[in-house]
Amino acid sequence: MKNCIQELRAARKWSQADLAEQLDVSRQTVNALERGRYDPSLPLAFRIARLFGVAIEDVFQP
C-alpha cells in the first residue's frame, strides 16, 4: 500500500521521532510506514489520518 506520510510529515517540519511520539509508536515503525515496508492496522491508519487532519484515503492508496 502506498502512502504520503513522509510528505505530510515534511510539510509540518516534524522529524520521524516527533511523529512517532504523537502516534505512540517507535521511530522504526514510522520509518517502515514511510518506506511502504509495513502496512498499518486500520486503527493506526485512522490515527495517522486524524493527526494530519486529512481523510484516510488521502494518506493511503492501494
Partner: protein, 131 residues
C-alpha cells in the same frame, strides 16, 4: 525508537532481567542443595523444581514486554517466534532421527536455549524485512 518509547521498553525489560537473575540464583542454590543431598523425596522434588518459579515470572515479564510494544514490533515478534518454533521443531526432530543411528543422546535442557537462539536470529531477520 523515540526517547519515550525507548525508555518505556527499557523500563518494561528490567523485570525480565531481574527474573532471569533470580532464575540463575535459584538454579545455583538448587543445584548446590541437591549436590549436598536433600532429605525426603518431596523436599528433593521441591528443590529440584524451584528454578521453575522465576521462569514463570520471566514468562509473565516477556508477555508484558511484548504487549507494551507497538503493532509493528508485535508483528516482528510473532514472525520471529514462528520462525523459532519451526526451526526448533526441525532441529530437534532431525536430531531425534539421528539418535536412532547412534548419535549421542542430548538432554531436553538444550531445547530452550536453542529456541531462544532461533528467536533472537528470527528477530534480526524479521526486523531486516521492515527496514
Amino acid at each position: 525508537m523515540n526517547k519515550r518509547t525507548a525508555s518505556l521498553t527499557l523500563r518494561r525489560a528490567i523485570p525480565c532481567f531481574v527474573a532471569f537473575a533470580a532464575y540463575v540464583i535459584v538454579l545455583v542454590v538448587s543445584l548446590r542443595l541437591l549436590a549436598h543431598g536433600v532429605e525426603g523425596r518431596a523436599a528433593e522434588l521441591a528443590v529440584s523444581l524451584s528454578p521453575v518459579i522465576p521462569v514463570i515470572a520471566l514468562c509473565f515479564c516477556i508477555v508484558r514486554l511484548i504487549r507494551g510494544m507497538d503493532e509493528m514490533h508485535r508483528a516482528i515478534q510473532l514472525e520471529a517466534l514462528s520462525m523459532s518454533v519451526a526451526a526448533t521443531a526441525l532441529a530437534t526432530f532431525s536430531y531425534g532421527f539421528l539418535e536412532n543411528v547412534g548419535f549421542p543422546k542430548v538432554s531436553l535442557f538444550v531445547v530452550l536455549p536453542l529456541m531462544c537462539g532461533f528467536w533472537a536470529a528470527g528477530t534480526v531477520l524479521a526486523q531486516w524485512r521492515y527496514r
